[in-house]
């Protein structure tokens, strides 16, 4: 079994124990809030893990290397950022896909850019953001976030 999972599970268990002593009702509420978000995310999880399996077996690594490999440099970074921008979904779904990309020869900075733009840039939420803060803000913020995703990706390449 994976150690990270067990440590994290134990940590959250302790946190619940502490909060339970403070306020059992609110802890129960927290537990049911967690359960309902999990239920809401379950279909996405099933689909994403299913996709990861298909991806792993059917997409040739050569294809990933060509578009997102380290030898493609700037193109990889652009593809990673672009994929993250158009993809919609919870961040939890981005990680398994990113891991598959990485395993099959994608460049780490491109994968990092993919994750950051997945979370930070939202095509789907653009109308909502424009309505609340104005189109200028929404477009500028999403544009800057795309640049930030690419820069973060590049810096990750230096760190890793």
């Amino acid at each position: 079994m994976d150690l990270t999972g067990i440590v994290y599970l134990a940590g959250v268990g302790i946190a619940y124990a502490v909060f339970w002593r403070r306020s059992p009702e609110r802890s129960k509420k927290a537990l049911s809030a967690g359960t309902s978000s999990f239920k809401g995310m379950l279909p996405t999880f099933i689909a994403v893990f299913g996709l990861v399996g298909l991806f792993d077996v059917f997409i040739p690594p050569a294809l990933i290397e060509r578009w997102m490999g380290s030898s493609s440099g700037a193109l990889s970074l652009l593809v990673g950022t672009g994929l993250g921008t158009v993809a919609a979904g919870p961040p939890a779904a981005a990680y398994p896909i990113a891991a598959t990309l990485l395993k099959n020869g994608a460049w780490a900075p491109a994968v990092a850019a993919f994750i950051v733009s997945w979370i930070l840039v939202g095509f789907i939420s653009l109308p909502m953001e424009s309505k609340i803060f104005g189109a200028r803000f929404a477009i500028l913020r999403n544009g800057l976030s795309m640049i930030a995703a690419a820069v973060i990706g590049l810096l990750m390449g230096v760190v890793l």
Binding site: M1, D2, T4, G5, I6, Y8, L9, G11, V12, Y16, F19, S27, K29, A30, L31, S32, A33, G34, T35, S37, F38, P43, T44, F45, I46, F49, G50, L51, V52, G53, L54, V57, F58, A92, Y95, P96, A98, A99, A108, A112, I115, I119, L120, M128, I132, F133, G134, R136, F137, L140, R141, L144, S145, A148, V151, I152, L155, M156, V159, L160
Partner: protein, 188 residues
């Protein structure tokens, strides 16, 4: 009229709606199973193994999500952020964004209420960008991509949040003028 069976049909469609993607993936598996059964089986076993590998983290992530949702007082946090300025405010906003949990349709209205209370666009941008850290998800990310990757991304996202706030503030200068006037008398 056909009004009575209609709601039932509607609710069935509603129940199945979240599973659209699942059906699409299942269809892909069906095609794969027909054309190359061995590979389809391998794909399914990769899927199950991947999920089994992270199942404990997934459970912990959602339990932590619940705790954050209930015990972090979003409204109080928003009020607190609105009253401050300068670098300490940016750092505070970055910290606040980090512990914020919730989907877009919860976060944006919260940010809107911050804006309505006079919070600057810099602070809002920093909070929103730091929200991308997804603190509760970090162990899940580490499970898939390694701790080094996860921590590096977290630190860089936070740095980006602190840089992007003032940058957006400058770019939106004209629109923020009204707020500057609103907060100025307080300083004097």
């Amino acid at each position: 009229m056909a009004s009575s069976p209609a709601p039932i049909k509607h609710s069935l469609a509603e129940t199945l709606k979240p599973y659209r993607l699942v059906f699409a993936v299942a269809a892909l598996y069906a095609v794969a199973a027909f054309s190359s059964p061995a590979q389809a089986y391998e794909a399914a076993s990769v899927a199950v193994k991947t999920f089994a590998g992270v199942a404990p983290i997934v459970i912990a992530v959602f339990a932590a999500l619940g705790l954050m949702q209930v015990f972090v007082d979003k409204q109080a946090m928003a009020r607190h952020l609105g009253e401050r300025a300068g670098l300490p405010a940016l750092l505070l906003a970055a910290a606040a964004g980090t512990i914020l949990v919730g989907p877009v349709f919860v976060i944006f209205p919260l940010l809107k209420s911050m804006r309505d209370h006079g919070t600057s666009l810099s602070i809002i941008t920093t909070t929103l960008t730091a929200w991308a850290v997804k603190l509760t998800m970090v162990p899940l990310e580490a499970g898939f991509l390694g701790w080094k990757f996860s921590i590096a991304r977290m630190v860089l996202t936070l740095s980006a949040a602190v840089v992007m706030g003032p940058l957006m503030g400058r770019l939106m200068r004209n629109e923020s003028r009204a707020d500057i006037c609103k907060t100025e008398p307080k300083v004097a």
